[in-house]
Symmetry: C2
Subunit: 221 residues, 2 copies
């Protein structure tokens, strides 16, 4: 009983995809109902059958951008080669941080969009719309499951912090609130570099900034 082909087939998904594409180069302000409609070959106002308003669409697009960020994080952490468990845990945390900052600076539009839509994070999750059978279709991979293969950046960071505690790199009593410290630091630098007063920082200064922030995070945990 999936949501199946009516007139267009899967307009909602197509529109989100188009929105993500537009957001990539133009940021959130480029996610314009009429442009999205044009892009999927549908007249504007068609969006209103799938989204309450522009903000609703933007929230869905933002989730898509967030998924892209999560994907990059996963890729980078998977690349870590390290034998010592403690070193590996630290390296993975650094990989996550660098992925975050790199994503922000190279995928400007996606980053700004990811944090423009609503969707608060902690607490609310998994209200579960009881998806029963995972269909065989070679998944689009866009939906973020809450399982082990999630692309949710928040969850990814949390797991890495857990690993640091598990291997004894970080004292357990520091764990509560640790994600706030780590997340804030990388997000702050990213925001300042992308939108903020550090926008025009030269490349070498950017590197210094990233290194300093990541080192400070490690010391601060």
């Amino acid at each position: 009983m999936e949501k199946r082909a009516y007139h267009h087939g899967a307009l909602r998904e197509a529109m989100v995809e188009a929105g993500v594409a537009l957001a990539r180069t133009g940021g959130p302000s480029a996610v314009v109902l009429r442009a999205v409609g044009r892009r999927v070959g549908v007249s504007h106002n068609a969006a209103y059958r799938h989204f309450a308003d522009r903000e609703d669409l933007l929230a869905a697009v933002a989730a898509g951008c967030m998924t892209e960020l999560g994907r990059l994080m996963l890729r980078r952490t998977a690349e870590v080669r390290e034998d010592d468990p403690v070193q590996r845990a630290w390296s993975r945390l650094e990989a996550i941080g660098r992925a975050y900052i790199d994503f922000a600076t190279t995928e400007h539009g996606w980053f700004r969009t990811a944090f423009s839509g609503a969707t608060a994070h902690p607490g609310a999750a998994s209200k579960a719309d009881g998806r029963s059978d995972p269909p065989s279709g070679a998944g689009s991979g866009t939906e973020a499951g809450a399982g082990a293969d999630t692309t949710d950046p928040y969850v990814l960071l949390g797991r890495q912090l857990d690993e640091l505690v598990a291997v004894g790199a970080v004292p357990a009593e520091r764990r509560p609130g640790a994600h706030y410290a780590a997340w804030s630091a990388v997000h702050g630098l990213s925001a300042l570099l992308v939108d903020g007063p550090l926008r025009e920082l030269p490349e070498d200064e950017r590197r210094l900034a990233a290194d300093t922030v990541l080192a400070a995070v490690a010391r601060g945990l």
Copy 2:
């Protein structure tokens, strides 16, 4: 030879002021040319005699909001009562950080606006339009001088970090890049709380987050 009363007198300043007022409750998107015009009793398009376009006006308004942030920082640091120089330096840094976060959460609109306009920070400053005589008028205080009484948050933070080094609380070799670490952390938390996924965090969690971030910054320097 100041810029003096033509038709309106000081339309530019009035418009920036109006913009700041609008931004306070509505954020950057509330800084609308027509609304600003209406507010100062001037028809729209008048702005084009003083600003290149909306973005230009928004940048000026953003500077005004930034000044408000700086003012709060100054007020809070001035309130610090502490005898030991080292403790005092730390307390002042914390005061700055709390001011930043409090400003973001209580002055939602101002905060978002302050970081929406352009104006990159380091390097460029003080191109100096050679203001000669500081008039006697009980100053509006809106212009940020580069002097000792600046309200520029960036400069304020830098000074506090200098003090920490001066009293020996922070090793000098950590000074370069230190403002990136401190600024990023508080800005990141602020951004996440105001606009981002932490938007709906309950009050006690917000406090935990702020405490954790500030403690981590202190340890990380």
